[in-house]
Amino acid sequence: MTTSSHTAAGLSRRTFLAGSGAFVLGAALPARVLAEAAGAGEGAAAMAPAPGTRVAAFIEIGADNAVRFLSPFVEGGQGIATGMAQTVGEELDVDPSRITVDYAPPGPDYLVVNGMRLTGGSFSTRSSFPVVRRLGATARDMMLRAAAARLEVDAASLSTSDGVVTHAATGRTLTYGDLAEEAMALTPREDVALRDPAAFRWIGKPVARIDVADKSRGLAKFTIDQVVDGMLFAAVVHAPYYGTEPLSLANAADVKAMPGVHSVHTLPGAVAVTADSWWRARKAVEALDVTWSDPAPSGIDTVAADFSSAAMRAALAASTAEGVSVEAEGDVDAAFAAAAKTVEAEYDAPYLAHAQLEPPSAIARFNADGTLEVWLPNQMPDAFLKLCAEAGGVAPEKVTLHQPMLGGFFGRHFTYGSGNPFPQAIALAKATGRPVKLVWSREEEFKMDAMRPLSFTRFKAAIGADGMPTAITARTVGEGPLGRYFGAAPDSSMVEGITEKPYAIANRAMESVALPHPVNIAFWRSVGHSMNDGFYESFLDEVAEGGGQDPFALRKALLAQSPRHLALLDEVERISGGWKRGPYTVDGTVRARGVAMASPFGSETATIAEVSIADGATKVHHVWVAFDPGSVVNPAIVKRQVESAVALGLSAVLVEQAVYENGQRRDANYDTYQVLRREMMPAVTVSIVESGAPMGGVGEPGLPGVPGAVVNAVAALTGTRVRSLPLANTALSGA
């Protein structure tokens, strides 16, 4: 299973591992960036030749004074394009609403995330903020010097305002567009001053998103909307069992004679048809009578004929393999020996699909000059470029990527081997000699999407005579995407959210046990945190109950030495109108609340959810989140990102699950693969707390507190502690 197709291209294992800690924990940014983030970044050392320093690679100014910023990060709904415009505009002195932001091509200039480039790990803003500010300031300085030369005055006598340089003494003005050519010929200075944050006009303000008008008018172009002259459309059907192959086609000639059909193909693990329209290609490929190879009859080493989510969960629970310590503190054995009481519980969470609304697609075109162009969605351009070159049999420098914005991603668009359509598009373009646009139907996407791993953890806690926990242990069994794709061992993406919790429990022993999944697994919004914080926070409520403690009061007690966390608990208590666990009655429904905390991606959250039960199902009425990412660039976007993450967290805790039965995924489309719908969406209140701590992530951290808060609220209301997600699998009765 874990062959080279699972290895991210373009990165040696060593290179990525150097960054993998940062990817997960946000702790390993380059010293220069950290120094700048801490406000100590002036001086020549800050401008060593490095990614993120070459102005011309990032900023283009046209003769018409139009400004374009080439972003290291792809826009997929998170608002990063606007954040980039605000940040570079602030220092360049150009109104962000005038800046066009495009996703930069692959290349060394853009490796600004710890020497790598990816849109993920909630890294975009926090990794690049000082870099992008400096680029803007450096470019503005070049404009001033070019203007000084042109006007034959001292640069100090000039000022700028929204892309115009003014010489106040004479009233003369020049636009950046007038100066761009001369300015870009200058040598960038290494010691430009950055704007005083007290004078920020756009950074830290709720500046309007720059992409909403086009998106409200249907004008935004995603990969699936791209058109290339002379292209064929292609559709595929993948093997019914993951890892099996097409052996023969009984009716290829009949299918080739269908309207508009150009050609019929077998591919690794799939069959394909190209035609003059996608609908014709799809009808034709689905008419193929294919004989597929057989899966293994049984087991979990491959996706066997009897493979199931239930069997995988049972195997994780039954594992007796020795674990690897991922967190150890104090003397757990002594604490358990002295315990007045112990608590033990097992938690699991299912596989999940990304279920982004845009089905994956790709266009491939081989040109007469030996170059290959590929249009594709991606979160990691350099890795995709290398894989495109390999798939096309051309040198990487012969490959051009076109990278439209993403119709949702949530971790979908990393390199997942057979989970991406572009190798098929390239193979079909090569076979047909024509440009090929391949679109996966929703059914094929739900068959082939790489999934958030199913996960299992067993907890134990020791409680002292005073009702306070004295020890906690956790044993997590399974596999995470950092281990699968980047060789991380132990795999922090398995245990994040169980390790490094802030609570003062003196004795801790957390271990992980590697047990590979036979299915394709993925990064999914907030990765391991998406399940683990929920497990831990639910178990902490069980510990509170075991010790006769109120869960909110217990958390305050365990965080007594942590002002940052206490402040968040105080804030979530305030915005929710004061802590009350319930049950209580509101508008004729009996409700209760749960609380959970999480420390994902360098940020901190405290979350309270209010629930009732109707017809055996959980109804979430309100979610309150106090969110501390240290500092923010755009509070309006941050609040919407937290709300979006809350929605995905609710989807996961309430209804969502990708289920294997008899070796196949059960759900082929949204009719049975349940996701959060309007009627399940609660009111969401978000309060941003800017503690001034180092900048943390934004896109993912709103999620991990949600499952725990909801499960805890349900337990408070019903007395039922649900330890297997989603809640929809358990029939509940209201208090």
């Binding site: 329209s277 982004q356 709300e643």
Partner: protein, 149 residues
């Protein structure tokens, strides 16, 4: 060969019976503002107006369109209600990834044409389009604003 009325224009399209209107719009006519999400009328990304009513074009065979007037997102602002909906969408900064939003705007336009002053439940039951980014609350706020505009 079918003749369709799309955004006020008669358009001839050479496709088989059974071809969903969605793919006629997107691939034959190049109107890519209408999106393919699921193909089974679950997600609503493909919503267009058929004689003013919200219709999921992925499950509408081309031969079923007949003489009905089809309005897509590309022409929604030629409609007074649609213009207000788009304006409210922009002012409320509703879209995140944006992929579902063409369908959301069309569904909201149809809702407000039918129910000019919708109650919360009208929005709840009249707008069943999926948004994976979870913009449901922003959508509801924009619909309420467009109703009052």
């Amino acid at each position: 060969m079918f003749t369709l009325t799309i955004n006020g224009d008669a358009r001839e399209v050479d496709v088989e019976e059974g071809t969903p209107l969605l793919f006629v719009l997107r691939d034959t006519l190049g109107l890519t503002g209408t999106k393919y999400g699921c193909g089974i009328a679950q997600c609503g990304a493909c919503t267009v107006l058929m004689d003013g009513a919200a219709t999921r074009s992925c499950q509408l065979p081309v031969e079923a369109v007949g003489d009905s007037a089809i309005t897509t997102i590309e022409a929604v602002e030629t409609d007074e209600v649609g213009r207000r909906v788009v304006a409210a969408w922009i002012e409320n900064e509703v879209p995140q990834c944006g992929y579902c939003q063409s369908g959301q705007v069309m569904a909201a336009t149809a809702l407000l044409k039918d129910t000019p002053d919708p109650a919360d439940d009208d929005i709840l039951y009249g707008m069943s389009n999926i948004c994976r980014c979870g913009t449901y609350n922003a959508i509801a706020a924009a619909v309420r604003q467009a109703a009052k505009a």
